[in-house]
């Protein structure tokens, strides 16, 4: 077998010529940045050498050692070439692939700015706005999915694969993986940096203000999408392009060695958020994070499908379930807070309590997240019967809602129930029973309006319960009228005015005078007080005034019609008949505006 000997030595000569320990020229120049012909010649030489080694007999140990030494020189060379090609293409991923395609026309700064604005409007919703349209969905549902990009141009990928083939064939797989992973990892690190994926420890994150974290969560969601769908997915494809089919699941090993660290770094943030202390204001950002991650999960499972990347898949699932647990915990915390909210100082004028606004805004935001929450909230609210000995928890039977409402809807209803329960308690702190009823009417009316204003909320609460609520504020309105007006109207009754035994004109003048005086005093007092009370909803205010007028005016008109003559025939009738019917009609218009009477008079006279 002489001929192979000579080609082998020709191959060896080529390899030795490129031994960078041997000559300055070989050290300074790279094969793969040069002439294609030279590249092919070198690769052929390596193939030739390997072929001759595998066909050589074992007996010739010294020549085999020489060949093995030459092969080592070739492999060291190829390793350097491999590293060099990789290093030539380590620039971090391009800016336009970093932003999502819909926003590609924006620079990253503009992108941030746009986000900030969107976010501010989101926070506004969260504040106590009287707006009924809190429906801008802040869920991060998106349909975009894995989008691989070319991290390295295809001709370079081809070269890399040529080298990987040789190295693996010669048993240098591990070296190949080491070089590949160390170079690619720094490239991935650079991309993460560009995406603002910060290296925050769990301790750091617990110390940050929630507002700061909200911004970071938003950024993270954006970064995570790009990391998983573009960055990691592209790294995975690059590994496949270079190593697929070369045996020993080299592609997989390379991918994991490259990505494991960055992936853990990325998920660390979400993990830290998932274990942070729970409080109601965190719910929606946690749901955003949950939605984003759950959205990404299929992609994570695709990108990290191999056995070796199981730990990353597992971690993502763990974080997701912790976020879900956190959301559940926060909701139950919220319910408890609504139930126990301890403020005792009555709201002046019986208007809407800040708690009512807060709770209703909160649950209309909940309804914006209903898609997610319906999945997460699976157990029914813990209502009174379970803690029957606890008088501070209202009782509620949900059996009537069985089958027609989601568990989430039951929770929303339950929150409204305990809100009313709490408000009932607060109403007891009003000294005036009428005001307590007005307060309940206002608040329950507000609850109803908020529900009607949000189609999502209305659908979940359902018409049945909404009817109950409507009944409740109507009842409160009736109770108010009773508490205030029965007394006043009682002055206008006939009984007791007629002198007994007398048949003709048996009206007791003195009794009548007392009646008028009593009525005047009472009405004046009611007018003075209740003008400062407040019914913020104009329509409700109008209805209530009409309802008052409907009872008061006809009664007064008829009373006046029957008894006016008796007073006017006496002395100083103006002392007893202070109000004309028009005066009363006008005075009723002052009710529930929230100003003292003097101001109304001034306003009217203007």
């Amino acid at each position: 077998m002489e001929p192979p000997e000579s080609t082998a030595s020709a191959a060896e000569r080529i390899i030795l010529r490129w031994d960078s320990t041997a000559s300055e020229e070989a050290r300074e120049k790279m094969i793969f940045t040069g002439d294609r012909h030279e590249i092919d010649r070198y690769l052929d030489a390596v193939d030739e050498l390997q072929k001759s080694m595998s066909s050589a007999t074992l007996s010739d140990s010294s020549s085999s050692a020489v060949a093995s030494s030459t092969l080592q020189i070739a492999m060291a060379r190829l390793e350097d070439e491999f590293r060099n090609i990789l290093l030539l293409h380590t620039s971090p991923i391009e800016a336009e692939s970093l932003t999502e395609s819909t926003n590609s026309e924006l620079t990253s700064q503009e992108f941030e700015l746009k986000e900030e604005i969107e976010d501010r409007s989101f926070e506004k919703q969260f504040e106590h706005q009287e707006s009924n349209s809190s429906t801008t969905s802040s869920c991060y549902k998106s349909t975009s999915s894995i989008r691989e990009v070319d991290l390295i141009p295809s001709d370079a990928v081809y070269d890399l694969r040529c080298i990987a083939e040789r190295m693996i064939a010669a048993g240098y797989l591990r070296e190949c993986i080491q070089v590949y992973a160390s170079v690619r990892k720094s490239a991935v690190d650079a991309s993460l940096k560009k995406l603002n994926v910060e290296k925050l420890s769990i301790g750091d994150i617990q110390r940050l203000e929630w507002e700061t974290l909200e911004t970071k969560i938003r950024r993270w969601i954006r970064a995570a999408k790009i990391c998983v769908r573009v960055l990691f997915a592209s790294e995975r494809r690059l590994c496949e392009q270079i190593f697929e089919g070369l045996g020993n699941s080299a592609d997989d090993a390379c991918f994991m060695e490259t990505i494991k660290g960055p992936a853990i770094q990325l998920f660390n943030f979400a993990e830290a958020i998932s274990i942070s202390r729970r409080s109601p204001e965190k719910l929606f950002k946690i749901l955003d994070l949950h939605d984003a991650l759950s959205d990404l999960l299929p992609d994570i499972e695709t990108v990290f499908e191999s056995k070796s990347s199981e730990s990353i898949r597992v971690q993502a699932v763990e974080i997701l379930s912790r976020l879900a647990e956190a959301a559940r915990g926060i909701l139950s915390e919220f319910e408890n807070a609504v139930l126990r909210e301890p403020s005792k100082v009555p709201v002046p004028g019986g208007t809407i309590h800040p708690l009512t606004r807060y709770v209703m805004n909160y649950i209309s935001l909940i309804s914006d997240y209903k898609q997610t929450l319906i999945e997460l909230i699976v157990s029914k609210p813990s209502t009174g019967p379970r803690y029957s000995s606890d008088p501070t928890v209202p009782d509620m039977d949900f059996s009537e809602f069985e089958g027609q409402a989601s568990t989430l809807a039951l929770h929303l209803i339950w929150i409204i129930v305990i809100l009313q329960f709490n408000l009932d308690g607060k109403s007891k702190h009003y000294k005036d029973a009428s005001l307590a009823h007005l307060f309940m009417m206002n608040n329950v009316h507000y609850i109803v309006q908020k529900i009607k204003g949000s189609p999502e909320l209305r659908e979940m609460i359902g018409d049945d319960y909404l009817r109950k609520l409507t009944g409740k504020f109507r009842l409160a309105a009736t109770n108010y009228q009773r508490a205030t007006w029965v007394r006043v109207l009682y002055c206008l009754r006939d009984e007791g005015l007629h002198v007994s035994g007398s048949f003709s004109s048996g009206v007791s003048k003195s009794a009548l005078r007392e009646r008028f005086k009593a009525f005047n005093a009472m009405f004046e007092e009611v007018h003075r007080t209740q003008a400062t009370w407040l019914v913020p909803d104009t329509q409700l205010r109008e209805e209530l005034r009409i309802s008052i007028s409907e009872k008061l005016i006809p009664a007064y008109r008829s009373f006046l019609g029957r008894f006016r003559s008796h007073i006017e025939s006496g002395r100083h009738p103006e002392n007893y008949i202070k109000y004309s019917v028009e005066d009363l009609e006008n005075a009723v218009l002052d009710f529930f505006e929230g100003y003292p009477v003097s101001q109304h008079l001034r306003r009217r006279s203007q």
Partner: protein
């Protein structure tokens, strides 16, 4: 598992009610008994960890133990022992102090103590006790410490990744050196891998001063006498690309040493009346957490570990703490030696790997083909030891990493449970942040 979570809070609420009628102000007998049992268990479990270590070292040093069960220990102390052909009989050797197996036992011990601690602290307790001294102060402090422990767990997980990376480099050397006949090419290949390994160890141990790194790097390159990277010109980048480092895991300013220092700060043994009450188990658990984290940081490469030895002390007069003190002293001494030598970590396998790698690099430097018989035997012993270390790493590091993750989960879960109890109290008066 929402079911069990609900159950947990349900039980808590039950106990609120029960205790409304019979508030338990002080520890009753049952509780006192549980406390004592807890202390005894802690002492016993750590004594096992300490005992294991003392028997093996005795065996290795005196060589008087006929049941020669510690080829690993023997190999560690006497490098010329032909440990490869060793067949072990009887029960498996108890793990060497600071070995991977020892750490797996340590983490098991931690998990056991933690479970018992939680039972002592939380089960059937009137939650309002958490809002009264001393728990009102100790519990938030304990939770704060847990968060710090979580960061250590993460750092250690990354550190184990790095050790696995080194193991892979060692396996390259192993593969090369096992070729027969062994030619210069394979020796060079092994040398290159080991050099990368040793440089990476130095790189990660040094305190992140780049100039320092390059100084040591060139020194090592020269001592090897052969080209390691591409050599010459623009190859600074090329060689730098060779190293994995810990830098990606946490921010540059993060320091494992400082983290441990913060964890052990204001960790004071309860005095006077508190020393028999609930303050004690909290203190015990705190001590265990800090000790376990401290030992992990000492053994596994972590970012910035200056002065670690002095960052954790336990008062000497506590009975239950004696085994921990024993371990702490031993590991502390090792650490001081380490700081002088500049090794990558006290993990027993790691220390040996470093030593063997140095010997093998030396061997490679003086290699001439063909080998003398004496040299061949020397090489065979080194290769066998490296193989044995790699095997232990291969088998042990994955499970160790999983266990660290388990500890992480446990801390998270316990923290959540304790916070749940705290919330039970605060809920009664919690304002809504409207």
């Amino acid at each position: 598992m929402p079911a069990t979570d609900n159950q947990g809070s349900f039980l808590n609420r039950i106990s609120i009610r029960r205790n409304q009628f019979a508030p338990i102000e002080t520890c009753n007998d049952q509780e006192q008994e549980n406390l004592e049992l807890f202390q005894r268990h802690v002492a016993d479990r750590f004594a096992d960890l300490l005992y294991i270590h003392s028997t093996t070292t005795t065996a290795a040093v005196t060589n008087s133990n006929s049941n020669d069960h510690s080829s690993a220990a023997a190999a560690a102390t006497t490098t010329d022992s032909p440990s490869a052909t060793h067949e072990t009989h009887g029960p498996p050797p108890p793990p060497q102090l600071l070995s991977i197996s020892w750490f797996r036992n340590l983490l098991d011990t931690y998990l056991c103590c933690e479970a018992e601690f939680k039972a002592v602290l939380v089960s059937g307790r009137d939650p309002s006790q958490f809002s009264r001294p001393p728990l009102d102060r100790l519990i938030p402090d304990f939770l704060e410490r847990s968060i710090k422990a979580l960061d250590i767990c993460n750092a250690v997980t990354h550190g184990v990744d790095l050790v696995q990376h080194w193991q892979k480099l060692a396996q390259i050397a192993l593969m090369a050196l096992r070729q027969t006949p062994l030619g210069e090419g394979q020796v060079r290949r092994a040398g290159k891998a080991l050099n990368t390994l040793l440089t990476s160890m130095v790189f990660d141990d040094k305190e992140n001063a780049n100039n320092n790194f390059h100084g040591r790097w060139t020194e090592r390159t020269r001592s090897f006498g052969r080209r390691v990277g591409g050599g010459g010109g623009n190859n600074k980048d090329r060689t730098a690309g060779n190293f994995r480092s810990l830098s990606w895991s946490v921010a540059k300013s993060w320091s494992a040493s400082k983290q441990i220092q913060n964890m052990s700060a204001n960790l004071a043994a309860p005095r006077g009346g508190e020393s028999t009450g609930l303050a004690l188990p909290v203190y015990i658990m705190n001590t265990i957490v800090v000790f376990v984290m401290w030992a992990l940081v000492a053994a596994i490469p972590c970012q910035e570990r200056n002065g670690l030895a002095t960052h954790f002390q336990v008062p000497r007069n506590l009975n239950w703490a004696q085994p921990i003190i024993g371990l702490q002293e031993k590991i502390g001494e090792d650490w001081k030696k380490k700081e002088k030598k500049g090794t990558a970590g006290l993990l027993e396998e790691l220390q040996r790997m470093e030593k063997v790698a140095h010997s093998l690099v030396e061997f490679a430097d003086t290699f001439v083909f063909p080998m003398e018989e004496e040299k061949e035997a020397e090489l065979a012993a080194l290769v066998a030891e490296l193989a044995e270390i790699c095997k232990k790493m291969e088998e042990g590091l994955g499970p160790l990493q999983q266990q660290v993750r388990e500890v992480f989960h446990r801390i998270v879960r316990s923290r959540a449970e304790i916070i749940d109890v705290l919330d039970q109290i605060t809920k009664m008066s919690a304002p809504v942040p409207y």
